[in-house]
Symmetry: C2
Subunit: 205 residues, 2 copies
């Protein structure tokens, strides 16, 4: 059963609140924000805020929750795309469709992601995002690798690669997205496949 589409004022009001939230978080950090700040910046009645959120912590929770809901959906779509192509012979050095879609999603939510992952953001969000990336990669790597052949344990490898991805994401957001999502995904897959030393020109084989 399809979820009833939200009426326009609800969508509009929440967007106003979220945009104000993002701006204030960048400006003064989450802790210093008040509900009065939010509704003043969003230019809505203070009582209206409480029609949508319990308090500012609820706003943070729901905002981050929606990000991960969308990321889950992106992960599923990317997986379906791979399955529907019936081409399991793509090389491991090709960008994962998921990673391309991830960067596209980041581009669409640039302001919020830049702030939440920035110095005035929420450290636990960063942790959560890294866990999410790890989970996706663990699943993907498990289908390709034989643990007997590995020089280091799989979970350490995935920790390495997912942290690297997160660092690159943050660098990209801070730069104001100076490269396209496709370029970013390609860059990451190249570095992951050949290794940082190789792509830095320090090692040849």
């Amino acid at each position: 059963m399809e979820k009833k589409k939200m009426d326009r004022p609800i969508v509009r009001t929440r967007r106003l609140i979220r945009d104000a939230f993002t701006g204030l978080m960048e400006e003064k950090g989450f802790e210093a924000i008040t509900v009065s700040d939010l509704t003043e910046k969003a230019d809505i009645n203070r009582g209206t805020f409480y029609l949508h959120y319990k308090d500012k912590y609820d706003l943070l929770e729901q905002s981050e929750g929606e990000i991960f809901e969308e990321l889950d959906r992106i992960g599923e779509e990317a997986w379906k795309a791979v399955n529907q192509n019936y081409t399991n012979d793509l090389q491991v050095e090709q960008p994962l469709p998921f990673v391309i879609k991830l960067f596209e999603f980041l581009e669409e939510n640039f302001e919020f992601m830049k702030v939440i992952l920035g110095p005035n953001g929420n450290p636990s969000f960063q942790v959560r995002l890294k866990e999410f990336i790890k989970k996706k990669m663990l699943y993907k790597f498990s289908n390709f690798m034989n643990e007997e052949n590995m020089v280091i344990p799989l979970d350490y490898l995935v920790a390495y690669v997912s942290s690297a991805h997160l660092g690159v994401i943050q660098c990209w957001l801070e730069s104001g997205m100076d490269r396209s999502p496709q370029e970013m995904a390609h860059m990451l897959s190249q570095t992951t496949f050949w290794g940082p030393a190789h792509v830095a020109g320090l090692r040849k084989n």
Copy 2:
């Protein structure tokens, strides 16, 4: 008696409509716009449009009307500022406070002014704006000039200077406001005082 402040939803809805109007005018020109276009782009209910405007011609009329209301107010403020300073000895080559405020106003309403004065805009608005500038200048010049000393009739002079101002305004808007309102006002007053030939370096005295 102070006019009652409009409730937020009214202000918000009208801004949505005006912004959509500006965007569509630039994209396809006034004639090609439909009310359905407007409310789709503004993301409001079509019936809501009719709560605010009779039809799209009413929207145009009210939009332009507000511009001139604001311009009138700016003209009065500028005049008061001059009077309150008790300094009637400012030189005629100094930028008029009104012209500075005019450019600041244009900057605040950049999108709309660029469109309405552009190729897809409304020619009659341009005429109206020029008349407005002429009226302000006629008033100002009348206070400074002795018609006996003039080489050409005052109304022709004012037509020359006001048309020049409008042309410069349009150039500025098309360039995306590459200079500050203060710079623009100064440039205009210099050119007006010394004459185009002088400021072009073609004539010295």
